[in-house]
Amino acid sequence: MAVPSFAPPHTVYAGPFWDGVAANELRLPRCTGCGAFQWYPLAGVDHCAGATLEWTSVRAVGTIFTFTVVRRPFLPGSSKADVPITSVLVELDDAPSVRLVGRLTDGFDPVIGTRVSGEFFDNDDRRDLQFTPLGAGEKSSRLNGGSDG
């Protein structure tokens, strides 16, 4: 398994989300008017007229809605060494209208309906986010030979 080498762009658009990750927080844009999350945000557009979007911290906890194990390197500049990657869509407890794209931590089988929790980690020179099944135990113990139980 692999960790994607594709780094998010340093743009005004991508910045607030990845600034959150750098601070070990999952932040999503929420309308100060109606309280709805706007995902994906529309650049320069507020959700409700006269309101603003606030990047709000939510718990990185949710349920796997769907997934796929990507076996071919589609990402620009990627190679066979960069796959497989298990991408997941996660329905977040704190933002049920959002399906967050994420990556499942290496070594776990993707199953729809599995409860997962986000963990922040160092990926080269940036902070990154991956999702691990809740109650699955520490990743390190699995990689050291822990069973699936």
Binding site: P9, Y40, T66, T68, V69, R72, L75, P76, T86, L89
Partner: protein
């Protein structure tokens, strides 16, 4: 039945054409005009897809064919949805008296496009920010995630998925010039390598260079032209209330395409039902898109589309022969324009070995993420 398709044309699909898209498109348009027995000077309208076609501008095509008075000119929607919705634009224009002869076309050169077919998604700021860093990138990945959710809700076997490309390949083998002609059976499908679980390479459309065109005019005039007219009995357009960036992840009705809306509108406009349809030309960028659209259009109940395909319904001899030229999966990636061309040829009875006996009503669909268009075409009875 106010308008009819009176001419179709295409360049032979190829893995790589040496000419730019403009040259391919102009050749296809000239062939379509010749098929209709019309001169380029008579063209006074152009209706084309509006987002993904590069290198074949309406002004350049119009000048190349000698159109002198391009008094109606429109670009609409995305990819296959735009290609089929162009028929609706032509219908509107002719009915409103804004044009008499409308040309529609699509051309693509994936062999020369930097980043290939994935580039259109790589350029999306939302995907670069929120999807690609997690490995979620590329059309096969999007449709694989759909397939996994479908499998979870309704069940989905490799045999069911495989029935779609197997049917397409059987039709491609009856279609001169189709790019993928090698015989394909279930063993061959199962032996194919996984690209993004559960999709194999054979679940994905071809990647090639192509151009196709069609000519539309009023039905009365159409009856005096060279070929039997194919009537545009009804068109429909629809969208899901999500952005293109968010379609493959945030669509609230995740396993529904806007074929629900466009299909309902097209059938209503035509006064037809799915039971009236003899052949289906369904936008088949991936096997999953065929399964979902057949459900959305009412040919199978929700969750039963995969079983419908696996029962032999869509192949030769089935109750709904589908993509009778091999489609995007086996004939050519012509982004829906080839589907229109094929429906016209079938309804004219010109398809030789590939002719479906008794084909009088065809449904043609085009998908472009959140957008979808459906057209019902009929023989002039």
């Amino acid at each position: 039945m106010s308008v009819a398709i009176v001419g179709v044309g295409e360049v032979e699909p190829a893995w790589k054409h040496d000419r730019p898209v403009l040259g391919l498109v102009v050749d296809a348009v000239r062939r379509a005009l010749d098929d209709a027995g019309l001169d380029g000077s008579e063209v006074d309208g152009i209706a084309i897809e509006g987002e993904t076609m590069h290198g074949a501008r309406a002004d350049e095509v119009a000048v190349a064919i000698g159109a002198r008075d391009r008094r109606f000119s429109v670009q609409t929607s995305v990819a296959g949805a735009g290609v089929v919705a162009a028929l609706q634009m032509a219908e509107l224009a002719i009915d409103a008296g804004l044009a008499d002869v409308v040309v529609s076309y699509y051309g693509i050169s994936l062999s020369t496009q930097v980043g290939g077919p994935y580039n259109v998604h790589a350029e999306d700021p939302a995907k670069a920010a929120f999807e690609m860093p997690f490995g979620f990138f590329g059309q096969p990945v999007y449709f694989a995630a759909l397939a996994q959710r479908y499998a979870h809700e309704y069940g989905l076997t490799a045999e069911q998925l495989g029935s779609v490309p197997i049917a397409a390949r059987a039709f491609a083998r009856r279609t001169p010039g189709a790019l993928a002609q090698e015989a394909l059976d279930l063993d061959g499908y199962l032996a194919d390598r996984l690209v993004s679980d559960p999709l194999r390479r054979l679940d994905c459309c071809l990647i090639n260079d192509a151009a196709a065109a069609f000519v539309i005019t009023g039905t009365e005039r159409a009856r005096d032209l060279r070929r039997p007219p194919v009537l545009v009995a009804g068109t429909g357009f629809g969208t899901k209330p999500v952005t293109e960036a968010g379609y493959f992840t945030q669509n609230p009705q995740y396993l529904e395409m806007a074929s629900v809306e466009s299909g309902r509108r097209a059938f209503a406009a035509a006064g037809l039902t799915p039971a009236d349809v003899d052949i289906a030309e369904i936008y088949d960028c991936f096997t999953m898109s065929v399964i979902l659209q057949l459900e959305d259009l009412g040919f199978a109940a929700k969750g039963e589309g995969a079983a419908f395909c696996a029962a032999g319904s869509i192949g030769p001899g089935g109750r709904l022969p589908t993509n009778t030229h091999g489609g995007l999966l086996s004939q050519s990636y012509t982004v829906g324009a080839g589907h229109v061309v094929e429906a016209v040829r079938q309804l004219r009875g010109e398809r030789g070995d590939g002719q479906i006996e008794g084909a009088e009503v065809a449904v043609v669909t085009g998908l472009g993420a959140m957008d979808h268009a459906t057209a019902l075409l009929t023989k002039d009875r």
